[in-house]
């Protein structure tokens, strides 16, 4: 699972520009499903027959990652950009990035600290003060390599730190990796697998694909914010690395199905994996669009706890990925029987 995650995380696919991720996934799952199609927005919808048919279950994750879009090429050859998805400018300033599908090397610069006033040094940076520098010395030179509308990506390696993993795009290639693994197994029930686009700009892809599939149940696989870091105590941690899959009762977009919520904890206990809930109503994911699509879908999200989401350095615990997968695999065999 770890090597699959690594391969997926290192592919670049900002919202609206997911085709490289989709092609890689199609290559991996084409021999493991009975139907496969791409919908008009670009989401990949797969159907795999199981040993029997139960209620209609859709397992899904999103392919897109947060990143940047080039808005303007400046006269000095630098590139103005905007964020795609929610990104803290502090994790962008001073970072290496790749621009466009050709992966042009760039770096995000800003005014030198020496030239900032005392107040400016203590003020968080803003995207408006940053440009991407690809080394071009004029607009004309830059235009040979980049066009407005090209995307840019965090350039960050996949690194094992003790038992933990650091990478960009773990949100939500972790979900994609679990889905691919599940599709490669023999399943007890017929299952739809949907790899969605455009989650990060407002749950855009999942509403359309959920309408097309029209499932009875949806199981959303995600990575969710863990704040178990230095100086944060109690409930403010939200969830913790090493404490297993995160199953939330409610976030900013969804009140989750109570029966599915209980089923997740009961199942985790039965199969002997840890499981935790979020100690705060925070965040949101594709469940928000899915559970109110069509006539309504009974929905649950199971997430890998992840520090520093939406940064070049998302950090997860390897064991959480395994235990989340174990729980998801078991739930896929139980939910269609409800």
């Amino acid at each position: 699972m770890k090597s699959l995650l690594k391969e997926l995380c290192l592919i670049n696919g900002v919202s609206g520009d997911e085709q490289l991720v989709r092609s890689a996934i199609m290559e991996k799952v084409k021999d493991h499903c009975d139907e496969m199609r791409t919908d008009p927005l670009g989401s990949l919808i797969c159907f795999k027959k199981g040993k029997s048919s139960g209620k209609k279950l859709m397992v899904c994750a999103h392919m897109d990652e947060v990143g940047f879009i080039i808005t303007h090429i400046n006269s000095d050859g630098t590139l103005s950009f905007d964020q795609v998805g929610g990104i803290d400018p502090s994790v962008v300033i001073g970072r290496q990035v790749k621009v466009g599908n050709a992966g042009i090397q760039g770096v995000v610069g800003s005014q030198a600290v020496h030239d900032l006033s005392k107040e400016e040094r203590e003020a968080p940076p803003k995207f408006s003060g940053m440009t991407i520098d690809i080394g071009a010395s004029s607009k004309e030179e830059a235009e040979k390599y980049v066009s407005p509308g090209d995307c840019a990506y965090f350039s960050s390696d996949f690194l094992e730190m003790g038992s933990k993993i650091k990478s960009k795009a773990i949100d939500d290639r972790a979900g994609c990796a679990m889905m691919i693994s599940l599709m490669q197994e023999d399943l007890p029930f017929d299952t739809y697998f949907v790899f969605n686009v455009q989650e990060e700009i407002g749950l855009r892809g999942s509403g359309a694909s959920a309408y097309s599939v029209a499932p009875d149940f949806a199981l959303v696989l995600e990575a969710t914010t863990a704040a178990d870091i230095d100086g944060v105590s109690g409930g403010k941690k939200v969830c913790c690395l090493g404490s297993g899959p995160v199953v939330s009762f409610m976030d900013r977009r969804t009140i989750y199905d109570r029966e599915l919520y209980r089923l997740a904890f009961d199942t985790a206990m039965e199969i002997g994996v840890p499981c935790q809930t979020k100690s705060a109503v925070a965040g949101g994911n594709d469940a928000g669009a899915i559970h109110i699509s069509g006539k309504g879908v009974r929905t649950l999200a199971v997430s890998v706890p992840c520090r520093y989401l939406h940064s070049p350095a998302c950090v997860i615990e390897s064991a959480d990925l395994e235990s989340t997968y174990a729980l998801v695999r078991e739930l896929a065999g139980r939910i269609p029987k409800l």
């Binding site: 203590e122 100086g231 989401l309």
Partner: protein
Amino acid sequence: MELLGTITELAQAFGPSGCEDAAGELAKSMLEEYCSEVYISNNNVIGRFGERREGLPDLVLDAHIDQIGMIVTGISEEGFVKVDSLGGIDRRLLPTQQVVIFGKRQIPGVFSTLPPHLAQGGNKVMTFAEAAIDTGLSKEELEELVSPGDCVKFDVELKRLLGERVTCGALDDRCGVACILYALELLKGEDLGYNVTVIFSSQEEVGERGAKVGAFELAPDIAIAVDVSFAMNTGEDPKKCGELGKGPMIGVSPSLSRRISQELIACAKNAQIPFQYEVMNGMTGTNADRYSVEKGGAETCTVSIPLRNMHTPAEVIDLRDVRLSAQLLAEFIKEGRK
């Protein structure tokens, strides 16, 4: 010598102020290509170039070998590494920045950051008291590997941008070190106008302390500090900046020798080396300030390589400026005192 390779090795070497050992040893081995007698004293790497000739003035070429970094102050209860700064760090870019800690072995890590729900409106830049490095290791594992006083640097690889531009951390002032080495390459076998000593000095970033004792030890007649200065970039004031690719910035300042400044400018003009003025109104903030007043004083000047995003892991230089600066130094040294 191959300039890009030399700069890459130097810029990726470890050497925060006070822990210059690895970068110093590397620079020493490089300097030994040109100097018969090279030694390290107070972490200053010192070499005599060419034969000593009676009656010639003593000239020192100085570039600092240290880089900005951090020093470990402790390990927190939660298993995060606490640090303070070595030199002027732009704290705005710390969140999720990748670092390497030089403990009993090299330990990778990332600065942790609060997620949005805890960031209290996000209107504050983290202090070093709040900053903490996430290594993925437990408190117990860390206590075996990391001790207070161990040094930390930003972990970044040198990358090529378009043309001859490159980005990395620590180009301040490893590109100055490379520039001096390249000047020696140009001077091999040439008749010199000075008795030349090279010093790659320690602890510049914490207040030019290596140069203070180096200047006492060497007591030259003339000293040239080869350092970096501000290159024009988004948000910078063009009146205070040089430009990338337009050649060395020759210092002119009340604290520098006006005669040396003028000789350097004349040299550049004669040899048709493009150059830029760097006019200051007092101290230069470089090692030149130390040589000027150590012992009985010396005539000093600065030759600066323009650099963007100073003191960040995203520094950018143009290799042409390093080559042109080296040519200028070589011409000046061949010319000698009239």
